[in-house]
Symmetry: C2
Subunit: 208 residues, 2 copies
DNA sequence: TAATTACTGCAACGATCGGTGTAATCCGGT
DNA sequence: ACCGGATTACACCGATCGTTGCAGTAATTA
């Protein structure tokens, strides 16, 4: 044996399958996305999919784990890049928010459609898999952001009782319109307005 | 003719169908929910569904419109009840938040699972239907809440540049954990903590 | 009473889909 | 040149599903 294999089949085929499956699962959902369509999207035979994965559910969970790890890596790096050294907290948070929205509309965009599928399909996903996704995906990003906010609190820049909750609030406020009018994400002016308003709300609130 | 009919069939059967379809569409999604299962849930013959609706898509859109109107009515009434006369803004907002979460976990809960299905299925829903849903559902509630916040701003209680955006922020902060750890919604202590933290963030922000 | 309407149960059709078996082919390693 | 695993195309099975047709029945109306 020349190379140790963690999984069956050729790695490039496996990658093509996972990528194609992500595109179709994200757009069509678990039930509507057929394995024939996924095979065609991946440029692979239907039969080959079963050489790499036990069944459709196995492929789905693999796609979730793979895409989640990639996006969480990017998100964590984005948080560290913008909150590693903070000079002006308001403008730095705005920059973080703009970078955040940049990820939402990047080539990683299908992942967030997949997240919507997960949220809709939660009752039909094994609880253990849901737990793993929550912990390695949004949970991990939130912990990273919470740590940065705690640092800023120790330096006296912020007043944060519960860093994890504050991180959740900031994530929501930065991409507020992502949950209602998603078309706003593609207009640069709207993006800036949404982020600045979110950051201002996060910092100052609406009292008085 | 003794009574004018806006739609075919007997009204009670129609109501049973729409209610059963809501339960199954919300839990299983559009594709997975079968018309046989919906008919069984409604205590109605499969064939009767086609007496009231053209096809599955027609039923789905009807369910969306029906459930959306009901929930929006409840939400608007909740907003008016808690923000009609405001004495202590912080405690009144907390009460609104608790009532808000009460709706999320009430017998109207299936609606919000349906909303998750809509968000996942958006690419497969006619844009006109999506627009109508957004306008008569969350949009309507947000406008109502924005009007109340604008009142409070005029009275000098709040500082609000964009009432619609502020309303969106408040809605997000009040039910922050609804988008990640939905199990927190069923623990009274967690609910109170989530709402109070959200309201405090909305009013005061995290600066200093 | 007669007629209209709605509901029901059942069968059936065509299509789609997940999954499997099989035989042929391709390709890297020895 | 040989071998073994990987890939492919194709056919197939059983199940599910949306939808329709049809005949019978109950209820409401003229």
């Amino acid at each position: 044996m020349t190379e140790k294999r963690r999984t069956a089949g050729q790695p490039d085929k496996r990658r093509a399958i996972v990528d194609g499956a992500l595109a179709l699962f994200a757009r069509d959902g678990y039930t509507r996305a057929s394995l024939d369509a996924i095979a065609a999207e991946a440029g692979v035979s239907n039969r080959t999919i079963y050489n790499h994965f036990a069944d459709k559910a196995d492929l789905f969970q693999t796609v979730i784990q793979d895409s989640t790890r990639r996006v969480a890596d990017t998100m964590v790096a984005t948080v560290d890049r913008h909150l590693g050294k903070v000079t002006d907290i308001e403008s730095d948070l705005v920059d973080l928010g703009l970078a955040w929205l940049g990820v939402l509309t990047s080539e990683l965009a299908p992942h967030f459609a997949l997240v919507r599928q997960i949220n809709a399909e939660a009752d039909h996903i094994p609880p253990a898999a849901l737990k793993t996704w929550l912990d390695t995906g949004p949970g991990r990003v939130r912990r990273e952001l919470a740590g940065r906010l705690a640092e800023l609190a120790e330096r006296g820049e912020l007043r944060v009782d519960d860093p994890a909750r504050a991180a959740g609030h900031l994530m929501l406020l930065i991409s507020a319109d992502n949950l209602t009018d998603r078309t706003a994400l593609h207009d640069p002016g709207e993006r800036r307005a949404m982020v600045t308003a979110g950051v201002r709300a996060f910092l100052h609130g609406y009292r008085r």
